[in-house]
């Protein structure tokens, strides 16, 4: 939470602060997309938050003349339980807008020696450098007010910004109210995104500890930001990356698992939580994971429709069930999910976003096979996931008891307000999916995808691709609609860098999780109504679309031009950067009242 004071009278060198939702540009201003009347950098900032969570802001080093500077953020008293973490904000040039936007966050120590313009960012006219400050408030921090300062030194002159953190008694629950899921495909991109790491150390990268550590680092960056990370391990033709599946041997009756080594190196630390041992929120197993099951794995498609297909499938999947039990991997949902599409010319039916009615019986058959393979009393959570966009109503109706994890198109769900309740009453999980707002959009847009599932009563939101920053994210950025992290390789870091958008998403997840707790004392309808009123001045009905005429057509008659009525501009063009801050203020008001 944040208050501003002492608006700046900028002199030659100055250290200023901005709230998290006002992103600074490299010239000392707020990026145009985030600008709001009356908002300006200030010399002090007040952050307010609940325990077991982060509060954040920007610090801005402004220097009129080119030259060296030293920034020091003093730590909070050790006894406070507050930990400050500092990141340099990278300014991405976005050619389509002709502007710079900060997004990638490069971790730095509490004391930074640098100069402007920053040599590696190559902005000749740069006069300001933003730093993102995260402050972790520990679970056991005593509620109260804590202060520290940050000091900028330039040519012997000092400029100081004070940072006050007000810690509330409330504690953010460990279980998030919504799961923000971040998707990606395979690992082939890791070698190209990490040329230094992949070529160092000798040996084969894809068999090395560097490789598996890097995969775990990707999981960790999302985990630390209260999100999930999905990495699909097979292609549209059924090719399975060796790190995503146990090695198989034999055929027909003799088909079975020959070697778990790579699978266990990959998934062991994720499924027992040890990959997250050093995180603030502590180690827990990942919530969800794709299985490598596809029409060609573990059973060969050569035997489809024959007894051998069932035998191979059951042999292998039942062995997986046993292995997972032996390992104690019983907290994660293992997803049987078919991602292939017939347009990629390897199988005759669509697994992903099925549209053709004659494709649907395949799903029933795989459900039957899964039931055969996994014993009824298994504590391992095998689930059948379907991503649905053409015929959600049909599939909800026809696949009760078959599909138990639904990833639905946002537009398809928008006119079915009762669908989440229906599905969840069966014990199913329900997500919607979509893209990621680009850096050129106001900063609050990334929080819209956090609020929407909570308002609808779904489990979360899947961002369909979150690790593809494009060919040159550093100097010719395409906007980041397919990434929320950046490769750290160019900074000598063998791990992904978080982004400002990921941090804003995390802080929103914290907030909505805390807000959700007030269901225990206040009607959820009231909480929702007030949150969305503050977010964008809307009412609950505005978050749904009227049932479109095409909804009753055969899916084969539909086109992608058939979309529900567009939501109000309040959800997009008119959604200002401060939208989430208003929701947060409501949540903090509730939290302050809590004893």
């Amino acid at each position: 939470m944040l208050l501003l004071s002492f608006a700046c009278d900028c002199n030659a060198a100055e250290l200023l602060a901005l709230p998290e939702y006002l992103r600074p540009d490299p010239f000392g201003k707020v990026v145009e997309a985030d600008r709001a009347a009356g908002a300006a950098p200030a010399r002090s900032i007040v952050l307010e938050g609940a325990r077991a969570g982060f509060v954040s802001c920007h610090l801005i080093v402004s220097i009129a003349q080119k030259g060296a500077y030293r920034l020091q953020v003093f730590p909070f008293a050790e006894s406070s339980g507050l930990q400050a973490e500092l990141y340099r904000e990278w300014y991405h040039y976005v050619p389509k807008s002709g502007k710079y936007f900060p997004d990638a966050l490069v971790p730095v120590a509490g004391t930074v020696q640098s100069k402007l313009p920053e040599p590696d960012n190559r902005i000749a006219a740069q006069t300001a450098q933003g730093y993102w400050l995260d402050v972790w408030i520990g679970h056991n921090t005593v509620p109260g007010v804590y202060r520290t300062k940050a000091v900028l030194k330039v040519d012997g002159q000092e400029s100081t910004a004070t940072i006050e953190v007000r810690v509330l008694a409330a504690v953010i629950p460990p279980e998030d109210a919504v799961t923000m899921d971040h998707n990606t495909y395979g690992t082939s991109w890791l070698a190209s995104d990490y040329p230094v790491l992949s070529r160092s150390g000798g040996g084969k990268f894809y068999l090395s500890d560097r490789f598996f550590d890097l995969i775990h680092a990707y999981h960790r960056v999302f985990y630390e930001h209260r999100g999930a990370f999905h990495q699909l391990g097979y292609g549209h033709g059924g090719k399975v990356g060796p790190e995503f599946a146990p090695a198989l041997a034999g055929t027909g009756r003799t088909k079975g698992i020959a070697d778990w080594t790579l699978f266990d190196r990959h998934y062991g630390p994720l499924l027992d939580g040890s990959a997250f041992a050093k995180t603030h929120i502590g180690p827990r197993p990942i919530k969800l994971v794709y299985l490598p099951i596809n029409p060609e794995w573990p059973a060969s498609f050569l035997w489809w429709g024959e007894p051998g297909y069932e035998r191979e499938f059951v042999n292998v999947v039942s062995a997986m069930d046993r292995h997972f039990r032996e390992k104690g991997w019983t907290n994660t949902r293992f997803e049987m999910f078919f991602n292939h599409k017939k347009r990629y010319k390897a199988f005759p039916w669509d697994g992903d976003e099925a549209r053709f009615a004659n494709d649907l019986p395949y799903l029933r058959e795989y459900h039957r096979l899964l039931k055969l393979a996994v014993s009824a009393d298994s504590p391992v959570k095998f689930v059948f996931r379907a991503d649905v966009s053409w015929s959600l109503e049909r599939e909800i109706r026809e696949f009760a008891g078959v599909i138990d994890l639904w990833v639905c198109s946002h537009s398809g769900m928008s006119y079915l307000p009762d669908a989440p309740r229906v599905l969840k009453s069966r014990g199913d999980m329900v997500f919607t999916y979509g893209g990621t707002p680009e850096v050129t959009e106001p900063s609050s847009h990334v929080t819209r995808d956090v609020l929407w599932p909570w308002v609808w009563g779904t489990d979360g939101f899947v961002r369909w691709l979150t690790t593809a920053p494009g060919p040159d994210p550093w100097f010719q950025f395409e906007g980041g609609g397919e990434t929320m992290v950046y490769p750290g390789d160019r900074f000598g870091i063998g791990a992904p860098l978080a982004s400002i958008r990921l941090k804003l998403e995390r802080n929103a997840v914290q907030d909505v999780t805390l807000l959700n707790e007030f269901r225990k004392t206040l009607p959820i309808e009231r909480l929702r109504a007030e949150a969305i009123r503050r977010f964008n001045g809307t009412e609950l009905k505005d978050w749904y679309a009227p049932r479109p005429a095409y909804a009753d057509k055969d899916p084969m008659e539909l086109t992608n031009a058939d979309t529900p009525q567009a939501p109000s501009p309040k959800f997009d063009k008119e959604l200002d950067a401060g939208a989430w801050q208003r929701v947060r203020e409501y949540i903090l008001t509730l939290a302050r009242e809590e004893k």
Binding site: T187, S188, H236, L302, G305, A346, P348, F356, N560
Partner: protein
């Protein structure tokens, strides 16, 4: 051919296959021409799907791919044949099916790919693409053509005939000297 000469021929062919992987792929490709049923291949893509294949809609850029569809029986029968053919390779290979498009003979589409997701020609994600010269040669002459590409990739193209004796498509038998195990896992 006398038995002695036959053994000599087999030994020679085996030796050739050991020293030149293309020779082995060529042997598989030759078998593919005998085994792949061109009439069945012609029934794979549905009529409706073909009607959508060249459609463009400024409001729906996926109109062709979202309507791509196949006859399951014909597809599965042919895919299984291709999979069996790939078992004739000593190492890992794929046998893909390519079909020219009657509506535009300059274009060709891959219609069936297989598990290693290898091809010297497929432009990833394309429904159809301009017919490469090597494929034109196979379709017009019935010759088998060997193509050596990047990543020590070798493809042998061979014709597929229907019951009228027409060349209606071709198979691509493809292997890589050094497989990229992570490629195309997407």
């Amino acid at each position: 051919m006398k038995p002695g000469m036959l053994m000599l021929w087999v030994a020679g062919a085996t030796l050739l296959a050991q020293t030149d992987p293309a020779a082995e792929l060529d042997r598989v490709a030759r078998t593919a021409t005998a085994m792949v049923d061109g009439d069945v291949c012609q029934r794979i893509q549905t009529k409706r799907s073909l009607e959508f294949l060249f459609k463009e809609d400024s409001r729906d850029k996926y109109v062709a791919s979202d309507n791509f569809d196949v006859d399951h029986e014909a597809y599965i029968q042919t895919k299984k044949t291709l999979m069996r053919l790939s078992k004739l390779c000593a190492g890992e290979c794929d046998v893909n099916l390519w079909m020219p498009l009657a509506a535009d003979p300059r274009q060709i589409q891959i219609l069936i790919r297989n598990v290693y997701e290898m091809s010297s020609f497929w432009q990833w994600g394309k429904l159809f693409q301009p017919t490469p010269a090597e494929m034109k040669r196979v379709l017009s002459t019935g010759e088998r053509v060997t193509v050596r590409g990047a990543s020590r990739k070798i493809s042998v193209l061979a014709p597929a005939y229907n019951s009228l004796g027409d060349i209606v498509g071709l198979v691509e038998v493809v292997a890589e000297g050094q497989r990229d195990l992570q490629e195309n896992v997407k």
